[in-house]
């Protein structure tokens, strides 16, 4: 089993996280996907939009995360900085099974594992 798939599998064992994917933040290439993750490539576009608009608006620093919330779920996109183009860890979080802050904490733990 690939290391990426194993890391995503661990993320999915967290209650409330129903899908996860690792994408390239620049090319949108999906390196690994697991569970309910239908709109992963849109996450890349949304993150790119957020990144360029924030820089143009004069914001300094790197993009950390984008959270899109619907009535039933959060679509969480965390940017993982590394040497080279960053990665995106995307996750679908069910709103009625967990809250956003604990899901974010769990996901950052898995993100650190991923890049270790």
């Amino acid at each position: 089993m690939s290391s990426l798939d194993a890391a995503l599998g661990r993320a999915l064992s967290t209650p409330g996280i129903s899908g996860a994917a690792v994408l390239d933040a620049v090319t949108g290439l999906s390196y690994a996907e697991s569970g309910d993750m239908s709109a992963s490539q849109d996450s890349c576009e949304i993150a790119e939009l957020a990144r360029t608009r924030l820089v143009r608006a004069g914001a300094s620093g790197e993009l950390e995360s984008v959270i899109v919330t619907t009535s039933t779920r959060h679509l969480v996109t965390i940017q993982l900085s590394r040497q080279g183009d960053p990665l995106l860890l995307c996750a679908t979080v069910d709103r009625d099974r967990t809250n956003l802050s604990s899901a974010l904490r769990e996901l950052s733990l898995h993100a650190d594992e991923l890049l270790a």
Partner: protein, 285 residues
Amino acid sequence: MTEGTEEPLPDSRNVPALLAALRTQHRSCTVAVTGTPGGSIHVRDGLVVAMETPGAPGIEGLLLRSGRIGEQAWSAVRASDTTHEHLAAELVDHGLVGAAELEVISLGALFDAAFALSLAVPDSWEVTGPVPTLYRNAGVTPERLLDEVSRRINFLAGEPGSVAALARTRMRPASTAHLPEPADRLPARHRAVLAAADGRRTPRDIAFALGRGLFAVMIDLRHLLDRGLVRPHTPPTNGRPSTAARIAPSAAPPSAMAPPSVLDSASLPRRLPGRNSAPARRPHD
């Protein structure tokens, strides 16, 4: 190494059809593609695990040029495994690169090489026995490879000139790029591409120089083109140096070039600091 026992491959019209046939037969082999750029496609059990082409940086280029691994450490690992069959495992075991990180680089290089190969029609191809190569991924189906390549072509298409032409175009900074203001607002990634676009390098050359993927660099170049910060470098049409006036007489009234008092007081024209850049931002072509 199990050649001879396998059923013959049907005649394939093109490389995707060949890969689909290899997939149905679960073959392990290497396809040598000749052409410009040409390359090798490594297939294991019907799935594509690696592609190499001079048209895009490979895993080695991405690891070394980006500074992830030093030349010395790389040479030491390579020397311990001359067939490259276990190179990926060696790199991870020596702690030179993380397992997930190498997987990301391996897949990234594979899709990037597929994109580079898709930009030209190959002359011919030949299926040979499996050649050992560096890779770390579970393999990609030919369908997924094709889907991703067409997504990339569509993403870059829709502008003047085809994607293949963009990949061959030498880029140079537009005159406005020297003004500090617009370039300062760019992300570091775009600034690096801008600095590498010197009028001699094609997008492929920039990708090799920066240790990034060809497609990623082309996305960034498209962004810089759209903002008017780079422009295609058009070489002079004849060998004779141009004797045309450096400043178009109708472009601006003489008063905009230099204050009249300066022109009157000296017999020779003087350079004025900051007056050499184009007076107005011109749309790129």
